[in-house]
Structure formats: structure tokens, C-alpha cells
Symmetry: C4
Subunit: 264 residues, 4 copies
């Protein structure tokens, strides 16, 4: 019988691979969650591409982003992004840092990312913009020092997503499943907003619509419906799905022709 920590590792590894499988994470970026029984710790993979993360890769870290049981393998350089947000926001239980192709254009141009459809409302009313130069001047852009992580956490403030100038985004959630939902749908929202700019004037949801739609879509029903979907897509991509019993297309097609003849 698996204990809570084993279960959390299994889920967190899966969330890493799911978000990568949906094209939001690539070789870089990371997903973490707060320890299921000890809120003063969080769980994070050793340094490797999220698409490859297995439960055994996941280790415990203090909120100061020190590994609890040292290992030989390399660790992620940007652990403090996670640790400092867990410190600042007790209600946050999962964090994702990424460089999604649809989000970067906003980080490059400074254009405001807005909730432009109901599923994008999970972004919340606002995604603040953090410019590392404001406090730290010219750097390698990597958020590696505790004070850099703390500065980013301050920029996030009470919101759920922060854009990082010419770098990427960091997203927070109250649960791992909510985080996964918000991470993927804010990336989709960004892609749609870019395309809408091609057509003309972009008009976002109103503040009230954003609040109501965000609330609606983050209920367990929609969140778990999406989780199941991304999870099965991952299983398909990894070749671990139990194949549906083969139903030849031919029969469905023949049936369909019969119906048409009869039905139109």
C-alpha cells in the first residue's frame, strides 16, 4: 500500500510529463508541489527535462531550497523560485516555472497577457510583469539566489502567474491539479491572444467575468476532467495506454452510409 509521499511523487512526476507532453515545457522548466504532510518542505525532481521525470527522481527540499538528503546528481539551478513562493504563500501547494512558446512573446514585447476566454480566466485578473533588472541589473536571467526568488515572489504578490522579462513565467496553484490546469490553459489563452492581435482589437473578459469564469473552471469537476484527458494523452504518447479493443473503421463507416441513406 503506497504511502502519501510515494503517491505524491508518482503524481508530481506525471504532472511534469503531462505539461511537457502538451508543449508547455521543453528541456527546461520544472513543476513542484508542497510536501503532502510537511508544509515546510517541497518536492522537486533532480535536474532533468520534465518530460523524463520519474517518481524516483523526486527529492525533498526545505523552503530555503536545500535538499534534505543530499544526492550525487545535479539539482535544478532555479530552486528558489519555488521555495520562496511556498514561503510567501501558504495557500500555494504547487508551482510551475516554464518558457512556453506562446508566453515568451509577451515576456519579450511587454504586451499585457489578459484573460481572453473563459478557460483563460484561470489566469486571474492580472499576471504581473517582473523585470530582473529592476533590483539586480544585468544578470544571466537565472533566478538562483534566495533574494532573486524572494523578489519574484513579491512581484507575484497575491496573483497566480507572473511573467518574467525575456525569460518565461511562473504559475502557482492551491493543488497540483489546479496548477496543471492553470499552466496549460494560460498558455493556450496566450496563443489565442496573439492570433487575435493579428485580426485587430483584442478585448478581454470583464473583471467580473474573469472572477466568475475562473471560479467555475477551477472546481474539481472541470479540473479533473482535464487532468484525465492530459493523463490519457500522456499514456498514448508513452505507449502505456491499454489499447481500446480494435473496432475496425470499416464497420462504423458502412453503418454510417446505411444511416445516411435512410436518414436524410
Amino acid at each position: 500500500m503506497p504511502n502519501k509521499l510515494d503517491e505524491a511523487r508518482e503524481l508530481l512526476a506525471r504532472a511534469n510529463r503531462m505539461i511537457a507532453n502538451e508543449g508547455v515545457l521543453d528541456a527546461f522548466g520544472h513543476v513542484t508541489m508542497r510536501h503532502p504532510t510537511d508544509p515546510r518542505r517541497y518536492l522537486m525532481s533532480r535536474s532533468r527535462a520534465p518530460e523524463l521525470v520519474e517518481p524516483a527522481d523526486i527529492h525533498e527540499f526545505t523552503l530555503d531550497s536545500q535538499i534534505v538528503t543530499p544526492i550525487e546528481a545535479r539539482l535544478y539551478g532555479e530552486r528558489v523560485i519555488h521555495g520562496e513562493i511556498y514561503k510567501a504563500r501558504p495557500e500555494v501547494n504547487a508551482v510551475c516555472h516554464h518558457h512556453a512558446p506562446s508566453i515568451l512573446p509577451f515576456c519579450i514585447s511587454g504586451t499585457e497577457l489578459k484573460p481572453v476566454y473563459h478557460l483563460g480566466a484561470t489566469l486571474g485578473e492580472k499576471a504581473p510583469f517582473w523585470d530582473s533588472r529592476d533590483e539586480f541589473g544585468d544578470t544571466n536571467l537565472i533566478v538562483a539566489k534566495p533574494e532573486e526568488g524572494a523578489s519574484l515572489a513579491r512581484a507575484l504578490g497575491p496573483y497566480w502567474m507572473v511573467l518574467m522579462r525575456r525569460h518565461g513565467a511562473t504559475v502557482a496553484g492551491t493543488t497540483l491539479e489546479e496548477l496543471t490546469f492553470r499552466t496549460i490553459y494560460t498558455a493556450r489563452n496566450a496563443a489565442m491572444q496573439i492570433q487575435a492581435h493579428t485580426l485587430g482589437l483584442v478585448s478581454p473578459l470583464t473583471a467580473v467575468e474573469t472572477e466568475l469564469a475562473g471560479e467555475y473552471n477551477l472546481r474539481p469537476g472541470p479540473v479533473m476532467r482535464a487532468w484525465e484527458y492530459w493523463s490519457v494523452r500522456l499514456d498514448k504518447a508513452e505507449g502505456t495506454l491499454h489499447k481500446r479493443a480494435a473496432k475496425p473503421a470499416r464497420r462504423a463507416n458502412k453503418r454510417s452510409k446505411v444511416k445516411r441513406r435512410r436518414g436524410r
Copy 2:
């Protein structure tokens, strides 16, 4: 020997998965059809991502969008979109509600979606634009109340597709196969229109061309040709296609070189 209802369930589940496999549906959205023998009912899946829908997931609903035989599982929240359109339009036998990435930019910017090529002519002359705020003010954007569904059905009027502000689109068809065709090709048409805006002036089909091309492409021949195509693509994606007997590329290539030497 399968009865009509079993056949309808099989087809409807397949249509859900086909449209998802073509990228028009994701974790959300739904495809329904009118009951094959009782026009006062329609068939719809329980709440789950369309790509995962199986025949056993499909249940019967009254036109007031009440499930005929209650189940434990969660139902879709936006059933009234379908029920109210079936009420208002007796000739409609299938409905799809979706949030396709190529359609949303029109729902966000308010730009008119137009038939810009012959296959897009299945859109019809016009896709009306429904703004939920006109009658209901600020909401969560979800069309869950009967009066909201009825309002959307009125906006659809005699047309075949209605755009929903910052939400998505709803498409109707006289058969499930026609609906599938219209849903996918209007999404393709939208993607082409966006790209055409990048190049310059977008000029749509004339009204007469739209009517003639729409009529031509919705005959059983083209509709079933496309259905077979999407169905086989689904079987490939699900790994249930009977693999073609292996014909090594090598031979085709060698043959081809011989031909070139001889033929040019």
C-alpha cells in the same frame, strides 16, 4: 445484431473522438445527436473530454436537457446549448460546441468569420455573433440555464454556426456526418482567414459561390469521403488500425530510380 440506438452511440462516440483528434476539441466541448428514433430526445456523453468518449458514456436527454435515466457520474454543464437548438430547429440532428484555437481569435476580436474558400462555404453565408452580456450581463460565460441556451439558439437563428463572445462556437448539422464536416472545415477556414489577414485584404466567396459550394460539398460523396479520412486517422492515432502489409520503402525507391533513369 446492433439496434439503432447502439449504432448511434457508437457513431456519436466516434465523432467526439474524431473531431478531438483533428484538434478542434480539447478537454472541453461536446458533440451530440438527436435520438435516432425519438426526435424529442438527444444523445450526449457524460462529462468527460471528447477524445475519451466511449459508446457506454452516452446517455439520453430530453429536449429540456434532463437525463432520462439518472446516473451517478457528472453531466456536462452546458447541456442546454444542445437541447434548446434541437427544440428550435427540427431539421437539426447534430450539434457541436467547441473552443477551437482558430475560432477563438474571432470570438475575442469580434472580426467577422467569413467563408474564404470552397470548403469553408459549409459555414453558410453568415456566422452570427452572440454576446452573453446583451441579455445576461456579466456571467461565468457558461451557458447553463435554459434561458441562456434559448438565447443562443435565437442568435443562431436559421444559420449553421454561431460565434460566442470570448467563449467559442456552436455548430449544427442535419446529420452527424454533415456536422463533423462543417465543424472541422469551418475551423480550417478560420485558420486560413487569420493567415490571409497577415498578407492583406481578405476577400470571401460571393453569396452565390457560398451557396453553391456549400451545397456541393455537403452532398453524401464529399461528406463520407472526409468522414472515412478522419475515421482512419483516428484509428491510426488510437493504434487500432489494421496495419497495412509492410511494403519496404527501399523497393519503391529503387523502382523509382530505375524509372527516372528510363523516363526523363
Copy 3:
């Protein structure tokens, strides 16, 4: 020992599936070739999506686009596109008609498609624009009548590709392999031209560059290199490729680390 006609059927079916597998053809469109021993005939599939075409689907047609041995199955409606070009252009031995997503924006906006890189030079100096309304007024856009096909062939003139207003494109080649190359790389060229418009001024190859680069890339070497590539990709997609003997990534990675330690 296969005869020439059987070999041609095998190759033509493969070309249909290859071009579809590269995203240029979808449920519609068709690829044909002139009969390998009788220039007064051409070979074409019965009506089905190109991705599904098998050698047994391919039949012989006269240049008036009549099937030589009548069959029960449905035929493509736009046969005359092919027949009339074979009539008008004795050096043309293969034709593809398609609605590629990257080409349609040009057919919709009227923007000129230009060779913008060396592989796009296979387009030739110019792709004329054919507007069906000029001779035929408002139609269903389908090129089904001999006079429509003849008009299109006249518009093509001595060139290798003709754009069809709000409909698609038709491409010609002296061999099936050359046609495949030109069809795919003109579609790629179109996608790049659209993206270049986003950045600013688009400047095409000069006339001399176009001629020289087109000539270079249509030699047997490049054409067969690309054919082998698309053919193997098709085999992968169809699951008929003999899998490469498994070489675990692990060893390659370990080796690589060793090298780095030593080599930098």
C-alpha cells in the same frame, strides 16, 4: 515480376500518401500521373482521401477524363484539371491539385506567391492566378467541366503552378518525383513567405537565381534524396518501417559525457 503499370500504381499511391503525410493534402485533393506506356491516358485514384489511396484504387482515364474501364465506386469530380493539363502540356507527366493551409492565404488575399528561398525556386519564376469568375461567373468553385479544366490549363500556361482564387492550387511536374518535390517545397515556401510578411519587407530571389536554383534542386540527386525522406517518414507514420535495431540512448549519453570531460 511487376509490370510497368503495376509499378506506376504503387508509386502513385505512395505519392498520394506521402504528400498527405506532409500536411499538403487533407481529405481532398489528388495526385495523378500520365500512363507509363500510353501518353493518351493518365492514372488517378477513385474518389477517396489521398492519405488512404492504395494501388488497387488507381484506374486509367482518357485525356478527356473518362474512365477506361467503368467501376461502381465514385470518381473524383475534378478529373478535368488533370486531363486538360495533360492535353495542353505533353512534357507534363504528373499533376497535383491541393488546398494546402499555407497556400490558401494567397488564394484568398490575392497576394503574389514568390520564390523566397532556393528550394522554393522550384516554383519557377511565377505562379499565375486563375479566377474562375472571369470566364464562368459565380460557380461552386469546383473545376468539373472540360471547359473549366481547359481554362485552368490555359492560365497555367508554360508555368508549373497555378493559384486558384479561394480554392487552392494545381502543380505540374515532368515526373512524379519532381512533382512531389515541387508540391511540398512550394507549400513550405508559402509558409515562410507569410511569416516573412510579419517581419517586414519580403524580397524574393532574383529571376536568375530562381532559374539556377530551380534547375539545381530538380536534378535527380536532390529530388530522390527528398523522395526517400518523405517515403521513410510515411513508413514511420504507417508503422511499416522496419525498426532500427534498438540502441539505448543511455549509452550514447554516457559516451557523450565522457567525451565532454575529455574534450573541452
Copy 4:
């Protein structure tokens, strides 16, 4: 026990296939490396699509781009791109020439490619623009003559990437792994820059940020993390990955629901 040359061939074949699998190379383009023990030679495949390159396809060339042991098979026409860069830049040990869809719009429009995010900083401060007409007038665009290769190498100068007008790009690296990283992430950077242009003003990294971020990301840790990722993705695409032991999604989902009930 494999010797250094065999190991190099294995790695180089894999790099060709990996970069192709990430969509940067198609039927054309090539990746080479300097001979592991003889700096006056380099290794390159015979002429075939990079996605198909096997260790046995790889041969030795002098820096004058002559094959050391002549073979019957066709060679790449643009060998001098590689040979002349290896001559001019002793610290360069790997070169990739490609026509990536995200890079060509810059080669067509003349817009400057800039490092717009930290991973794109591996581009370095500048990607010079080489116009073959400046020295050679109208050509077929192919860099086949030694003087053309030398001209391109001069244009590259001390930088790591050179754009080639209406043709493509050539990228250099001190190791094969660094080259792979720079090739893929400069292509990603280009795609993001194009999208950022759609939104508005594009602002790149500062010179200091570019230097620091480039340095950080080219350390062995990030480079090998990305190499492992692309390598496993290649194995997946080629069907040679040892499948993960099947863990049904169902259990992960059920577990997840339990957690939610408890945890929110």
C-alpha cells in the same frame, strides 16, 4: 570496445537525427563534426536526409572538403561550408547548416535575428547576414565552391551563427552537444521573435545579459540535460525506447481524486 571514431560516428548520426526530429532540419541540411583525433579532418554523412543518417553513412573529409576514401554514393554539394569554417576557426568542432522554417523569414526579410530570451542567448551577441550576391552575383544559392565557403566563413567571423540571404543558416559549436543546443534554441528564439513582432515592440537581451546567459546555458549541465531530452524524444519517435512499465492512468486519477477531497 568501440574506438573514438566509431563513437564519433554514432554520436554524429544521432545529432543529425535529433535536430531533424525537432523540426530544424528536413530533407536538406547537414551536421558535421571535426575528426575526434585528427583536427585536419571532419566527419560528414554521404548525401541523404539528416533524419535518416546512420553511423555507416559517415565518412572522413579533409579540410578542403575532399573525401578521404572515395565512395560510390553521392556526397553533399555544400561540403565547403563545413570545411572552410573548420579551417578558419580552430576552436570550432561541429557545424550545422539548415533551412529551419523559423529562421528563413529573417533570411527573406533581412530583419535582424536577436537573442530575445535567455536560451536564445546562445546565439551570441550577433548573427551576421551573408548575401552571396555581394561577391558572387546571381548564383543557384548553393555554397559549393571553396571561395564561396571561405566567403561565408569570413562573414561568420568570430560569431556562432550566420544567416544566409534567402537560403538558411549555418551554426558552429565547440562541441557537437553545444552545437546541437545552439542550433535548436536559436531556431526556437527565432520563432518567438516572430510572434513578438505580432504583438509589438521586440526588445532583446542587453549585451551583458546575452553574454552571461549564453555562458550559463552552455555549461555541461544544461547542454547535457537538453541532449538527453532530445535523444529520448528521438528514441520515442523511432520506436526504440524501452517502454516505461505500464502504469494505468486510472490509478493515478483515482488517487488524485482522493487527495482532492482530503486536501482542499
